[in-house]
Symmetry: C2
Amino acid sequence: MNNQNDIPSRSLDVLRAIVNDYIETSEPVGSKTLVERHGFEVSAATIRNEMAFLEEEQLIAAPHTSSGRVPTDKGYRLFVDRLSEVKRLSASERLAIETFMSSSADLDEVLSGAVQSLAQLTNQVAMVQYPSLGRAKIKAIELVPINETRTLVVLVSDNDRVQQHMVNAHQVLSIEDVAELRARFNAALVQQPFGSAVMKLETIVANSSNHLKAAASVVAEAVQIMVDANRQEKIILAGTANLARHGQAPVANLGDLLDALEQQVVMMRLIAEMKTDQEGLGLLIGKENNIELLSQTSVLVSSYEKPGSEIAKVGVLGPTRMDYAHHISAVRAVANYLTKTLGA
Amino acid sequence: MNNQNDIPSRSLDVLRAIVNDYIETSEPVGSKTLVERHGFEVSAATIRNEMAFLEEEQLIAAPHTSSGRVPTDKGYRLFVDRLSEVKRLSASERLAIETFMSSSADLDEVLSGAVQSLAQLTNQVAMVQYPSLGRAKIKAIELVPINETRTLVVLVSDNDRVQQHMVNAHQVLSIEDVAELRARFNAALVQQPFGSAVMKLETIVANSSNHLKAAASVVAEAVQIMVDANRQEKIILAGTANLARHGQAPVANLGDLLDALEQQVVMMRLIAEMKTDQEGLGLLIGKENNIELLSQTSVLVSSYEKPGSEIAKVGVLGPTRMDYAHHISAVRAVANYLTKTLGA
DNA sequence: ATTGGCACTCAGATAGTTCGAGTGCTAACC
DNA sequence: GGTTAGCACTCGAACTATCTGAGTGCCAAT
């Protein structure tokens, strides 16, 4: 097994050229076109020798005997890690991000703007993970009476996230009743971290006036549900149409992939488990993600930070044959804007 | 131009058989298979004569000379209007709807459950339109301080819909300030229909304490935005993956269709403009919708009612070659459940 | 180490052939 | 008159054959 560093510099030049060409044309690339399009000072035959070497190293592969070569997952990996220079975003691209992401909006709007601009920028499927609220605190609980028995429970956390859940107390609640419940829940829960809030719920119910115990327990249940919904990761997607567009789908059965995306669960797990480097970037190429359905797709994420809550991720999913150099810039830029906007 | 009623009964039998067969097999259907699979007491030749007649009437067409026949839009229309018997839903299908649509949830959850169950039931793209809130009234306005200057404005309407919008007052607001704003807005707006609420906003701002005028105007703006967002129709989709699944896409470029669905605007207009009959059902077959992109798809909707607000629609979109008899039942059932659940 | 030369491979395009489901028409039949 | 059997005909789909050319691997010469 050869170490990467054993690969001579010219071989790497060839690999870089192959990846760039293939990303651009999406056709297997052969030795002759390679010499023509890039400024190699050697003949096609020499390049062929290099290619044979790269193939031995499993960095490129031929779809069928005697056809051009295509980078393997391993080839892309080496390319990304050591060969690609980051393409800076153009001014118009930066502008696009800024206009898409209106600041001074609430979390939902900011995230949805971010994911849409990223999808448009990359022509891939974009996704953003909600900041996990593990460390977030409860800012307020509002009870809004809807009719005699039904009440809307609104939970606001200290990072601008608002959740709501309808409950039915199965008993008539007077205005005073609602006020009491509101007071009790707020007194006990405001400023509590989500984690510990749940433990207080029983006490609140126990302390409530007798005739309100049932209602209190229903509200407590709603709070529990919302806290749980928080712990459970959530993502937003945009640009799924890009999968069907631009010719060759990155998967045999496009329907299955779209389905998986719609169900969210696969992507949620994947994005949650992805590791990122010290710069916050994470990338899984092809089979690296160990998900059969995604064996021909790459997932690129960058973490962004929401002060006060944990770090979350934003990224794109596309065919392994994606423009890594460009997309890395795009994802990173959107992540930066997110951090900036949310920090304000 | 022949009136429908001039078409002899046996011809209609043949048309019905053709539609049913084609829906089932998605292959053009020929005279021989037709005689075999359905209990026609006549020979294939006779059926051919009938088919020639149907073709003259433009109810069926042959993809190419000497191939089986396929129903035209007009053929489907006649089939649906006069020939198909509604297929009742199976017990398990009804059960699926019920479990999907937990009652005592808020509007978002109910609608999202409905659209998901419909997508699953029909294997098509399902969509539901939010009830327009033209007649709805404001139930409460809550102001939740997020930090010194930012405040979350929560607007609850009397049909369980909750909206929120973050505002930045650009000035420090004390608890008393927030209380005053809350009181003023609620006093002026609670029980006001959305339509007239907007007109009161100026007065509220004018009446506010001087040092709160700026803040009040920011909040008023937020209310305005939310009211507008309400007036603007909104839909939820589910099951878009079903388009890519099951073989032949109903459109040349699947990407364009997915894109249009994601952008929502096309479907929003279409669903808003669709007419429904006295039973609340509406159906556009193929080119009837006059949208090039959707020329090979049918859209089937049923209206549902949310007491107190206007009527909205729920339905499915799929290839013209869809199982109308079944889907009509499914859409109608979901609409009924919606009306029932929301009326509670 | 590099290169020109050359035989070889093989996917994809083009063209020809066959096959059969399906048609339209006509003449006979009830 | 409606129905039917019979038959010639059509034409897409599937199969085969052939051709082409981009690309390869290898070897001998530089």
